[in-house]
C-alpha cells in the first residue's frame, strides 16, 4: 500500500468551503430581535453573535462567509423574517 488514505482532522480550518455558496444571507439588523434562532439552526455552525448591541439592548447576529453554504435554513426559520437570501455575484 503506497498511498496514505487517512488524513489529519481539522482540515476545515485550512480549507474554506464558503465558495460552494450560490445565495448569501443578508441580515437586516433593524428588524433583528436577536433571538439566536439562526445560530441554533445553522448546520455549519457559522452564525454567531457579533457583540454589538441594538437599540433594544440586544446582541446582533452575523454569518461567517468563509463557511456559509447559503442553504437558507436561517432565513426560513427566522421568526421576524429579517434574513434575505440574495444571489451572490462572483
Amino acid at each position: 500500500m503506497k498511498i496514505n488514505i487517512t488524513v489529519k482532522p481539522g482540515t476545515s480550518k485550512e480549507v474554506k468551503t464558503g465558495n460552494w455558496r450560490t445565495y448569501q444571507p443578508i441580515i437586516d439588523h433593524d428588524k433583528c430581535i436577536a433571538c439566536g434562532t439562526c445560530a441554533r439552526v445553522c448546520p455549519e455552525g457559522c452564525v454567531f453573535p457579533v457583540g454589538e448591541k441594538a437599540l433594544q439592548g440586544k446582541v446582533f447576529y452575523e454569518k461567517d462567509l468563509d463557511y456559509c453554504k447559503g442553504c437558507g435554513i436561517c432565513a426560513a426559520e427566522c421568526p421576524v423574517k429579517c434574513i434575505e437570501m440574495k444571489l451572490e455575484e462572483k
Binding site: 500500500m1 498511498i3 496514505n4 488514505i5 487517512t6 488524513v7 489529519k8 482532522p9 482540515t11
Partner: protein
C-alpha cells in the same frame, strides 16, 4: 484430535480460536449456524470477542467496518440476499483498506426465492476488492480462516471465504480444529499500523473524499495490492501447511491424469464430485483431470495457465451465471487461455441447490468432446 463436527460449528470454533475482537452478524440461511454457534460461545463465556447483534446485513457489515477501523480483528458471516444487502459496504471496506474476514455460506439469489446452494451471491460481488477463496470441503474451510486473518491483516485487504451452503455448512465431517493455543505461533495478535486507525490520542479521518486528481491512483494502488496478494497467500498457506501438516499451498490445484487433454475447471464443493468422476473416467482409460480454483480474486492467472496449457477441451463448471453472457468462471478462463486449438465450454449446473451427480459430470465430459461450443445448462 479429530472431532465429528458440523461445518458451521467447526467454522465458529476456528473463528473463536483466531481471537477476534468484534463479531457482528445478522442470521440468514444457510449461514445461521455459524453465527448462532459464535453467539453461544460468547454467551457461555468461552470467547473474548464482543458480539454485536445487528438489525440487517447492511448494519452488520457497517459494524465490522467500524470495528476494523478502530484496529481490532473483526469477523462477520452472511449468505445470498444478505451479501447483496452488504454490497455497498463491501466496496467501502476494501476501498478503506480495512482488514477483516467474512464467511459466505453460498446460496442462490432471488427470484424465485430459494435457500439452497449455488455461488451466484459471491460471484456477483467479485469486483468489490475482496480476496475471495473457495473451500472444497470443511477441513479446507476451517484451515482457510486463520490464513485469511493473517493475510488480511498483513495486506490490509478483506478476505471472503466461500463455503457451499448446506453441502458444507450443514454436513458433519471428522475435522481437526486448531485451538487458540496452537494458532498462537501462526497467527500473531493484530497490531494495526500507527496513524491508520480511529484513536482519540492520535485523531485521523478515515474514508475521506478523493477528487478526480487522487481517486484513480488510490484505486490503482488497491488493484496492485490485490493482484500481488497471491504471493503472500501462497506463503501463508505454505506456513500453515508446515505447521499443521495438512492442506495445500497452491491457489490452483490439479487432480487426475497428468497429461489429460480434457480438463474440468470448477470451484468449491463440486470439485469433490468431479474428482470421483475423474477417478472413474481415468479407470476407464479416459484422459481426464480437474483443475480446482481455490482463489478467485485475485485470479491466479499464471498458475491457471500453467495447469491448462496442455488441455485441448476445457469444461468450465459454473454454479453461477452472468445473465446475458455465460458462466462467470468460463469467461475468466477464456480470458486466460487463448490458444487457438483449445475449446473452452461453459456449463451451468447446480443452480438453486440442484444436486450435481457423477452422471452429470460424465455427461459434461461427453459434451465437451463434441464440436458444439454453446453454453449448456446441465439439469440432470
Amino acid at each position: 484430535m479429530k472431532k465429528c463436527l458440523e461445518g458451521s460449528n467447526a467454522i465458529a470454533h476456528v473463528v473463536n480460536s483466531c481471537k477476534p475482537g468484534v463479531v457482528s452478524a445478522y442470521p440468514i440461511t444457510p449461514q445461521t449456524h455459524i453465527v448462532e454457534d459464535l453467539s453461544k460461545l460468547n454467551a457461555d463465556g468461552e470467547s473474548g470477542f464482543e458480539f454485536v447483534r445487528a438489525e440487517s446485513e447492511f448494519a452488520a457489515a457497517s459494524i465490522v467496518l467500524g470495528a476494523s477501523a478502530t484496529g481490532v480483528r473483526s469477523y462477520t458471516a452472511t449468505s445470498s440476499q444478505g451479501l447483496l444487502l452488504m454490497t455497498e459496504v463491501l466496496f467501502t471496506i476494501a476501498g478503506m483498506r480495512l482488514p477483516m474476514v467474512m464467511t459466505c455460506a453460498n446460496r442462490a439469489v432471488s427470484a424465485p426465492i430459494n435457500i439452497w446452494n449455488d455461488q451466484q451471491d459471491s460471484m456477483t460481488v467479485r469486483d468489490s476488492g475482496w480476496i475471495m477463496l473457495y473451500a472444497e470441503d470443511n477441513q479446507e474451510a476451517v484451515d482457510l480462516h486463520p490464513v485469511a486473518f493473517k493475510v488480511s491483516e498483513q495486506l490490509r485487504l478483506p478476505v471472503m471465504i466461500n463455503v457451499d451452503g448446506f453441502i458444507l455448512t450443514h454436513t458433519y465431517q471428522g475435522l481437526d480444529i486448531p485451538t487458540a493455543k496452537e494458532l498462537a505461533a501462526f497467527l500473531p495478535e493484530y497490531v494495526p499500523q500507527k496513524g491508520q486507525i480511529l484513536d482519540v490520542k492520535n485523531p485521523v479521518s478515515l474514508g475521506c473524499f478523493a477528487t478526480p486528481s487522487d481517486y484513480m491512483e488510490i484505486r490503482e494502488d488497491l488493484y496492485i495490492d490485490l493482484k500481488n496478494s497471491t504471493k503472500i497467500l501462497k506463503k501463508e498457506l505454505a506456513n500453515y501447511k508446515k505447521m499443521f501438516k495438512r492442506g495445500s499451498s497452491e491457489l490452483v490445484e490439479y487432480y487426475g491424469d497428468k497429461k489429460a487433454k480434457t480438463v474440468f475447471v470448477a470451484m468449491g464443493s463440486v470439485v469433490g464430485t468431479i474428482k470421483d468422476a475423474v477417478d472413474e473416467l481415468n479407470e476407464e482409460g479416459k484422459s481426464v483431470a480437474v483443475v480446482k480454483v481455490k482463489c478467485f480474486r485475485p485470479m491466479p492467472e499464471a498458475e491457471l495457465l500453467s495447469k491448462l496449457t496442455n488441455a485441448k477441451n476445457i469444461a468450465v463448471v459454473d454454479k453461477s451465471i452472468s445473465l446475458g453472457k455465460e458462466g462467470i468462471l468460463a469467461t475468466e478462463i477464456k480470458s486466460i487461455c487463448r490458444q487457438k486449438n483449445q475449446k473452452i465450454q461453459s456449463f451451468i449446473t447446480g443452480l438453486g441447490g440442484r444436486d450435481i451427480t457423477k452422471k452429470m459430470i460424465k455427461g459434461i465430459y461427453k459434451k465437451v468432446l463434441s464440436k458444439d461450443n454453446k453454453i449448456v445448462f446441465v439439469k440432470k
